[in-house]
C-alpha cells in the first residue's frame, strides 16, 4: 500500500511560492492561514536555501497523541487528517507540532481560536469523499480522484514532490546520481559548512 510523503528538494526550491498559492486557491484556505509556506535560510546571502514546509504527516504524530477529543487520526496511507466537527480549538496540537502545521483562523480576547486547519495532503476529511461538505471544510480531495496534492503538481522546478515514499526516494536517487552525488553529499560539511 502506498505510504504518502512529501519531499522538498532544497537544491531546487527557488522560493517562488507557487505551492503556497496553489494550496490556498484550491482548498479555499481561510484568511490568515497558510497550510504550506516556504522557509528561506540565509536569505539574500551566500548559501541561501529555501524549503517548502507543510504538515509532515508524521508516522507517530504528536498532534494525535495530545488531542483531548481524539479528532485527529491517521489513514492507512499515512495521511494525518482531522475532524473539524469534533475539534474544540484548544490549540494543543499546535503546541505539540514541531513544524507549526496546525493553524487557527481566529484571534480573540479570550483565546477563542476557531477550528484547527492544516494541510490534508489534499485528502479531504471524514466527510464523504468529494462531497460539498468535505470541500467546504477541508478543501479538495485530490487523492480520491487519483491525483496528488496540488502543491507538488504545481511546483515550477519539481522541488516539491509528493506521493509514495518509495517512489520519491527513487526520484531523489536519480537526481543525486545526475548531480554527481558522492558519499560526502550528505555529510557534515555539506549540511553545516567545513569544520573550523
Amino acid at each position: 500500500m502506498a505510504r504518502m510523503r512529501f519531499l522538498c528538494d532544497a537544491e531546487r526550491c527557488i522560493e517562488c511560492n507557487s505551492c503556497t498559492v496553489a494550496c490556498k486557491n484550491e482548498n479555499h484556505v481561510p484568511w490568515g492561514i497558510n497550510r504550506r509556506r516556504v522557509i528561506t535560510l540565509n536569505d539574500g546571502r551566500e548559501g541561501e536555501k529555501s524549503v517548502s514546509v507543510a504538515c509532515m504527516h508524521c508516522t507517530d504524530a504528536p498532534c494525535i497523541a495530545v488531542c483531548p477529543v481524539n479528532c485527529i487520526y491517521q489513514t492507512p496511507e499515512g495521511v494525518v487528517l482531522h475532524s473539524k466537527d469534533k475539534c474544540i480549538g484548544c490549540g494543543y496540537c499546535f503546541y505539540a507540532c514541531p513544524f507549526g502545521a496546525p493553524q487557527f483562523p481566529q484571534t480573540g480576547a479570550f483565546g477563542q481560536r476557531g477550528k484547527m486547519d492544516k494541510c490534508t495532503f489534499c485528502a479531504g476529511g471524514p466527510e464523504p469523499d468529494r462531497s460539498q461538505a468535505e470541500m467546504e471544510k477541508y478543501g479538495r480531495n485530490r487523492l480520491a480522484e487519483g491525483r496528488l496534492p496540488l502543491c507538488a503538481e504545481m511546483c515550477s522546478t519539481k522541488a516539491l514532490l509528493a506521493g509514495d515514499g518509495d517512489v520519491l526516494a527513487d526520484i531523489m536517487r536519480t537526481r543525486v546520481t545526475a548531480r554527481g552525488g558522492n558519499p560526502e553529499l550528505w555529510g557534515w560539511g555539506t549540511a553545516y559548512g567545513p569544520k573550523k
Partner: protein
Amino acid sequence: MKIFRFIFFFGMFCFLAACGDEDRDTRLYGPDAAKVAGDTAPWSNAPFHGNQLAWDHQQEKRARLQNEYTRIR
C-alpha cells in the same frame, strides 16, 4: 492530627479525581483509525469504485511523472 487528616483527604481527592478520566481512544492509532473516525478509503467511490489496485497504479504513475529525467527522454 490535622496534618494526617489533610493528607488523608488530599489523597482521597487525588484517588477519586482519576475516576472521571476516560481512556484514550487508542483505536485512532491503528490500521482502522480512519474507519473509527468515519472516513473512507480514497478508492472507495468514483472513479475507482473500490478498486485499490487501480488507485495504487494511478498514484504511482502520477508520482513517477514528477521525475523529468525519465519523462523527457
